[in-house]
Symmetry: C2
């Protein structure tokens, strides 16, 4: 199965943000992150721009500029990042679609898949950037 819960851009975002959380004193230019984390530069730039647009980062243009967290690491959750890059977490569409399923509201499969999805959401919502750093002093 290739369908991932976390795609590459979300992955890179987590790494970059973790690194920034550890070194929070600095305004971080993309080039430094690229050097430290070995992430392809143009791709990471796109990711950082996205995080800026979504309000998770603040950007400083011009020489000496870069990015800084605009939200505390204990208020950034995996669900937030997944939503930024992958859209709303939605793992299922009712398997018995209209015309075929006579009673979509009582479809037992849909209910059970929804329950799984709710669990996943709850879990991902409980994983903050901060909690990822607690036991790992370095990335």
């Amino acid at each position: 199965m290739k369908g991932k819960l976390i795609t590459r851009d979300t992955d890179y975002a987590v790494r970059a943000l973790c690194f920034m959380a550890i070194n929070e004193e600095e305004i971080m230019p993309v080039d430094k992150l690229v050097e430290e984390l070995k992430i392809p530069r143009p791709f990471l730039r796109k990711i950082m721009q996205m995080l800026n647009k979504k309000g998770i980062l603040h950007s400083y243009k011009g020489k000496g500029g870069g990015f800084a967290l605009s939200v505390s690491p204990d208020r950034i959750f995996l669900t937030d990042l997944i939503e930024v890059f992958q859209g709303p977490l939605k793992l299922n569409e009712c398997i018995f679609k209209k015309n075929i399923c006579p009673n979509i509201n009582t479809c037992p499969l849909k209910k059970r898949i929804d329950k799984i999805e709710d669990y996943i959401k709850t879990q991902l919502q409980s994983i903050s950037l901060h909690s990822l750093l607690e036991k790992n002093s370095k990335i």
Copy 2:
């Protein structure tokens, strides 16, 4: 998010097998399923051949032939079908891969994603074809 837990072929397989489970007296030719379920014929044929190869269906060639369940509906689980069409359920690779994560074995994120994956597997393993039919007399 486009990453699905259940892809189209698995979806169609569930529908076809449910229909067959309800009409279990018959040897079911693909054309009848196509007519009933409005699934694209060549695609469904491929799906049925796959289920046959994996031992979930038995096939009867020649005129009057078709497919029949070779496993009881209460012994066919969603995980089985997902595995047939999507391979082993695996929703994550450690987000901090080698070279970057210094301590892959204690990575708290990996542990938590693994826990989510285990839960999903357990749930999907508990959903049998039979259990999908219980509350729906027709598909």
